[in-house]
Amino acid sequence: MINERQLIAALQHGLPLVSHPYAVIAEQIGSTENEVIDYIRLMKEKGDIKRFGIVVHHRQLGYKANAMVVWDIPDDRVDELGECFGQFDFVTLSYRRPRHLPDWPYNLFCMIHGKDRDDVLKNLDLMVQHCNVAAFRHEPLFSNRCFKQRGAIYIHSQDDKQASKA
């Protein structure tokens, strides 16, 4: 039997680089290799796991610059334009989020990646023209420093501490 909490805790730091990684995970949580494999497959099928593979640090791969571009889009057009932004291969995310007036008027967020700042701005220009959004207030927020980048840890408990120690 698989304890889902224990499995998530054991997996959240990543698979070990060994020939039978699922057997190592199984041993940590008192299960078997096949049970672990079947359970991960099930979580993928259910959509609980979006993707199961390697996670890259994009900054190390030549995508040195990224901007979170934030837009103030009329509520009745935000769905349409959110979809439009998502079509570009340099865009990795397009979400609607709440405004916080008067401090924060923006309701549509997208991440644009590029080799450097100019590349990002060139991509932004392309988007503005293609989606015809020059009239809407927007700002590219470049990141100048990254202080913490890791996978989200969902289980902050004894399970996790035991799994990572094992």
Partner: protein, 149 residues
């Protein structure tokens, strides 16, 4: 960063998925036509160089009943390092980026239940003395987590 073509091949392939079989490296070796030892060696090297962060799942937090949000704060430049240490000391904070805007600190909060998001935000506000702007996702139009290299 100049990558060897084999590194490139490994990264592009493995972002898409790691085989769910007893010996995943054997299967990858066949798929990519790279010997197992060489592949593990390259992956270990790229991990130590910080190109790869980890192998494993990216969860759908909301679907699994967890809480996830993007939050931002206005931090005075001279107190930025101090505030960064406070925010990063929370286990629930997954990413933290400085961005050039009046709202200049942006971080992701991930919790086991949605209710805990509010609790974590209150704690951060209390410890920093600053207002935290909570900007949870309301609609997802597009999300891509794979980088072709």
């Amino acid at each position: 960063m100049i990558l060897h073509s084999l590194d490139r091949k490994i990264i592009n392939h493995l972002q898409g998925g790691f085989p769910l079989t007893e010996n995943p490296w054997d299967e990858l070796s066949r798929q990519l036509d790279i010997p197992v030892d060489e592949m593990i060696c390259r992956v270990e090297r790229m991990t130590s160089e910080g190109i790869l962060s980890r192998f494993g799942p990216i969860y759908n937090a909301e679907k699994m009943g967890g809480g996830l949000t993007l939050a931002a704060m206005k931090v005075a430049t001279e107190r930025f390092d101090e505030m960064t240490d406070i925010v990063n000391s929370f286990d629930e904070v997954a990413h933290n980026y400085a961005r050039d805007h009046e709202l200049n600190m942006w971080f992701v909060i991930a919790t086991e239940t949605p209710e805990q998001i509010t609790q974590v935000i209150s704690k951060i506000e209390k410890k920093t003395g600053l207002k935290v702007f909570n900007m949870p996702k309301q609609e997802e139009y597009f999300l891509e987590l794979k980088f072709e290299v």
